[in-house]
Symmetry: C2
Subunit: 186 residues, 2 copies
Amino acid sequence: MRQQRDGRKARGDKRRQEIIEATLRVIERDGVAGVTHRTVAAEAGVPTTSTTYHFSSLNDLLIATLISCAQDMATEVYWMIDRARSRGSRGADEVAALLAAALGPHRGRTMAEYELYLLAARRPELRPAARRWLDVLTSMVRPDDLVALRAFLAGIDGLLIQGLIDDEPPKADELRPVVDHLLQPR
Amino acid sequence: MRQQRDGRKARGDKRRQEIIEATLRVIERDGVAGVTHRTVAAEAGVPTTSTTYHFSSLNDLLIATLISCAQDMATEVYWMIDRARSRGSRGADEVAALLAAALGPHRGRTMAEYELYLLAARRPELRPAARRWLDVLTSMVRPDDLVALRAFLAGIDGLLIQGLIDDEPPKADELRPVVDHLLQPR
DNA sequence: CATGTTGTGGGACGATCGTTCAGGTACCTT
DNA sequence: AAGGTACCTGAACGATCGTCCCACAACATG
């Protein structure tokens, strides 16, 4: 009978997920360079060999982390666009607030996302996962809006990356004019 | 007398520069993660200890490489903007062509630049160097154009980063409409 | 020529790395 | 109860890492 999951597999999957989450925390803290079997295991509170058992190599661990991360990112940006639309001409406020949050409280997470993003540039097998959130958004708009959306999303990426090397995170007020400029139709 | 440079220092500076250039080649090929004293030394054709002598730590080597890299980048983008301006409404063609080149023939170099860029996000001492090219461009425009320039530069960054995870580099023709959209005044 | 300075490079040290292995435990199937 | 499967983990291996040390050569300075 398969009504009940295999207890062993259930615990295995749970630990697997915990390892992935620990990996993301390590990347937020120390970057991709800080990801080793030992640091991840310590962060997750499991023995070192546990990470090698569940992920056949460090590469697989990074791939799994990127996929998990991209999934979250896609849904997050999806709802951001959705809320911004519902606010009509005040959509720029919504976007600027989210950018400010990504560069302030969630700065580590934002850095982690872009590091994984760049990792995908070097490893073709990671690219579909990294592209997913872009594809999700592309499917949201009418085809004739595509150029405007591409320009807008590119601007978002640029503002985030440039914001990461500011000495102190830019406030929503500083970002709003630029976001507004990016959103304005022509 | 100081008419003639110290022969020893002259050779030292030359080797120092060769090591920096070798470091950039290593980053282009294997990423920042591939930078070790040994790989850089092998790339430069010098003994391992030579890199530790000229750079007190691996960190210093990366800093020096970023500074050198940012310098080149600033001048390159400076002239791009200059040429684009001189072509008036056809400026988008110039920009799109440069982006296509950055994502095609110079893909490794572009990846290296953004990896160093992200490194600056984690190390405050690197940020002034990483920001330099942004500052140079900011000083090129009238203050009232600042928002438009910020949006444009952010869009450029976004297009480059997104182009890095495409399975094959986007052509200038595909980039031109988006660049044109970013350049259009409102 | 003597002395100090600067660059060169071979060798080695301890630390950390990814990964493997073998023995053990917990659970499911029959 | 027996056997198979899936998960767990301590110990260890060889490789590679950053860095240091020291002897030496090249050059400048007195």
